[in-house]
């Protein structure tokens, strides 16, 4: 009730602001949409991304804006409500006529706005690691595809920790299920037997991990080195790690590598019992390069909080935003079709000291970093790969291994089947 009312007030305020602004400065600004939940379950992760976008827009304006115009952020709150995401996206595209939108966290929210962006020819930058199996002309995926996170992490464990038995534990929804399907196929292709893989799903927000941790301990005592690959979603991680710590599962015995646990999530846990457990990302706050240091200082100054941490999806937004700025400058206009074409091939520095390029499949190149949790809640980077190109259609899944995506003319197709030589049509 109150929430609806609140968002109504917020919307009214934004609308009023827009009217005022447009009265004085018609077409003097370029609008940038920010579509992140500021209330509800996902606010925990998404609020930070809104803040980082505001900071980036602020910085760009200090540098003189874009094409001689100031940037203007249009912030909406989809309130962790998936249908509301589509509604708010429509509002951004049709009413505010934003030049580009940065937003979404969960896959279901992305799937909910995808038809809206395709129908109205918008641009969406999606900053979170996801399960792949999707390619859209209007969406630019700046987070990791499975081959940029999950597979290198498994490789690291197999090579460095000599892991032979695998627990794939995840929350029961599309990202963990698809990722685990890919990982299972990948592990089997590497000669791991079915009995050495245990797959376990738990509901959202699962808080009683006693049985599962006991099962993992049992599974891990079969004489072979065991590791847990965790696609457990945000909130359920805290009780999971607490239970691991309490039952005395140490990283030296059974390491856990997580794909959804970053600096932000660890801020809520006492990390001392977790030292040595791993995470795989494309960026860590502890990356020791000047460009990252500048960014962290900027972020702390902007939020006026010296304890604020940075994380991987934030870096994805930094990359995405800089790419968009560069593409707009290249195209000389904010016209979406021109910018979409200009974006492919754009290269910008990322925060881990290298460069990221936008590929024709609308995914980017980035290095994969494996980090071990330290006692202070930061990560010690134990491995960094070369640049990896995001692969949207997994090579390890039936039905998707023959597909490629290339949004450049003349192919302009998100799911071209190299076997049949045909484009599958509408993107999925």
């Amino acid at each position: 009730m109150s929430l609806r009312f609140k968002s109504f007030v917020a919307a009214a305020a934004v609308a009023a602001g827009v009217t005022l602004a447009s009265a004085g400065a018609q077409a003097q600004t370029i609008k940038v949409g920010i579509l992140h939940s500021l209330s509800g379950t996902m606010a925990i992760s998404e609020t930070t991304l809104k803040d980082v976008m505001l900071m980036l827009i602020d910085e760009q304006n200090k540098k003189g804006g874009l094409l001689g115009k100031k940037l203007e952020a249009v912030v909406v709150d989809p309130a962790s409500n998936w249908p509301l995401f589509a509604e708010k996206a429509k509002e951004l595209l049709l009413k505010d006529k934003v030049a580009a939108t940065f937003g979404c966290w969960t896959s279901v929210s992305r799937k909910s706005v995808l038809p809206v962006f395709e129908e109205n020819n918008g641009i969406l930058f999606y900053p979170v690691q996801y399960e792949g199996e999707e390619s859209s002309k209007n969406i630019f995926y700046t987070g990791a595809a499975p081959n940029q996170q999950a597979i290198p992490a498994v490789d690291y464990l197999a090579e460095n920790e000599k892991v032979q038995r695998w627990v794939l534990a995840g929350t029961d929804y599309v990202y963990p299920r698809t990722t685990n399907k890919i990982l299972e196929a990948y592990l089997k292709s590497k000669g791991v037997k079915s009995e050495d893989i245990m797959i376990n799903y738990t509901p959202f927000g699962h808080s009683d991990w006693q049985t599962i941790v006991a099962d993992i301990k049992k599974f891990g005592s079969a004489g072979k080195k065991t590791a847990v690959v965790s696609t457990i979603n945000g909130d359920a991680n805290v009780p999971f790690y607490k239970e691991l710590g309490n039952q005395g599962v140490k990283a030296t015995d059974i390491p856990v590598v997580a794909f959804s646990v970053g600096e932000e999530e660890l801020a809520g846990i006492d990390t001392k019992p977790l030292v040595g457990h791993l995470a795989a990302w494309n960026y860590f706050q502890s990356v020791d390069v000047p460009v990252n240091k500048t960014f962290i200082d900027q972020w702390k100054a902007y939020t006026k909080n010296p304890k604020r941490v940075t994380n991987d999806p934030m870096e994805a937004h930094v990359i995405g935003f800089n790419m968009w700025v560069k593409a707009v400058e290249k195209a000389g206009t904010t016209d979406t079709s021109a910018v979409i074409d200009a974006l492919v091939g754009v290269t910008v520095p990322n925060l881990s000291g290298g460069y990221s390029a936008m590929m024709p499949n609308h995914h980017i190149t980035k290095p994969v970093l494996i980090g071990e949790i330290k006692a202070d809640g930061q990560f010690s980077i134990v491995q960094q790969t070369a640049q990896v190109v995001g692969d949207e259609w997994s090579d390890y899944l039936e039905g998707s291994k023959d597909l490629i995506s290339d949004w450049r003319a003349p192919m302009t197709c998100g799911n071209f089947n190299v076997k049949t030589g045909k484009c599958g049509g509408a993107s999925k």
């Binding site: 606010a43 049985t211 005592s221 079969a222 004489g223």
Partner: protein
Amino acid sequence: MRIARLLAALLGLALASVASAPSRAADLDAAFARIATENFGEIEAAIGDLAATGDPKAAAALQALTDSRLVYAPADKGVFIKAPDGKFTDARTGAAPAAEPFGTKPVRVNNRVRRALEAALGSLTLLSPDPAKRLAAAEAVLKSRDSAAIPALDAAIAKETDARIKKTMVQARAAAVLGKADATDAEKVSAIDVVAERGDQDTLSLLANLRANGTPIVKMAAETAAGAIERRLAVLSSVQNVWYGLSLGSVLLLAAIGLAITFGVMGIINMAHGEMVMLGAYTTFVVQEILRTKYPALFDWSLAMAIPLAFLVAGGVGVLIERSVIRFLYGRPLETLLATWGVSLILQQAVRSWFGANNREVGAPAFMSGSFDFMGLAITYGRLWIVVFGALVFAALLFVLKATSFGLKMRAVTQNRRMASCMGIRTPWVDSLTFGLGSGIAGIAGVALSQIDNVSPNLGQSYIVDSFMVVVFGGVGNLWGTLVAAMTLGIANKFLEPFAGAVLGKILLLIFIILFIQKRPRGLFALKGRAVEA
């Protein structure tokens, strides 16, 4: 191999002669030079080298590395131990360096290095004067199953006086024998008997290899021992399920017991119940923050301090809600539901705006961390205390209801409001206090739940459905029903989970409750007589 070197060094240390000193010093220097690197493989090897020197300075350096206080200067490969107060000691000489080392970096540690460290320190401390260290060392060797450790273990066993440590050492030795390539069958069979005494999962994994590829006689012994362990573990797993069920049940009980008052006794469909739990958890957080910054010594008392405060905060908010919203809606359940739902959203967003959307860290006091072994069952202290706490809260609430004048008035008002009013009871006042009591108890539950769950604005939402389920299943208006329902659901859940998985288990349970409510709409323990109609 590493341990072999270690032990050789240990023996060497015991017989150390002056003549060997210079070469040892050279080894030490080389090992320290090797550790000053970024490469994990090199660091791991250097740890072996350091331990092999058997030098006390090496042991000090390894200890410092475990505490991540070992640093090196990349420029001149100097290795230093950094004290907590920021002072440096040269690891090679043990003296303070002439000049403050420049641009030092900590020696990096990963899981491989950590394992090497544990093994190295474990073997180095097998003869330590501290019994706790000796026990840890024996456990470390038991884990590493290194056959090269046998001579050192023999030496340690001969000297050992503590029966428990001796037993672990003997078991470690047996485990090492089983890993030895050239052990005779007789040696192996007797070793199997020794390790079988432990009877846990690790032993089973130790025997797994022998069962697969030992000589027939060893195979048979391993088979018998493993069979016995497996039977024992099967029984244990049922006991474990019951324990986990009790633990989950007491969490459900804590979450639901406040609702048993507001919904069960007063009949208010209180959707903001979960948020009272959340307020309790945030109170714990605030108390801990204050203690952390001002009185760190009192940290272990933080929960004890948080309990009354959480009761007051949540109870106070409850009274406020009752006075400002609910009292106008008595007898209108639908409107109450909507109004309290709104209140819950307001409270959530208020906490989100005040504390931020992120999880807050609530630490566990020392007595609630870790676990202990009870007949082979790992029982975590945190869970144990929550079971105890749940029982205490239940007993206290029962006492208030049955044996105090406030409880009497409360029951009188809920059973027959007009009659109670005629007897001079101020019924609106009792209503507020009852709602406050229910909310306060929810706040107390929040203190306990902050130990096992996220302290975030969404904390309450994850418990509201479960709480209603427990109260309805147990029978509205009956505290004992709530207790039995919470425990039944907890245990049933934990027995279903291993077979059906967490997701399907929960669904099955919900289906069961739906069917049960069809059959007995008033729950397990239905109120009978005139009170039902009132």
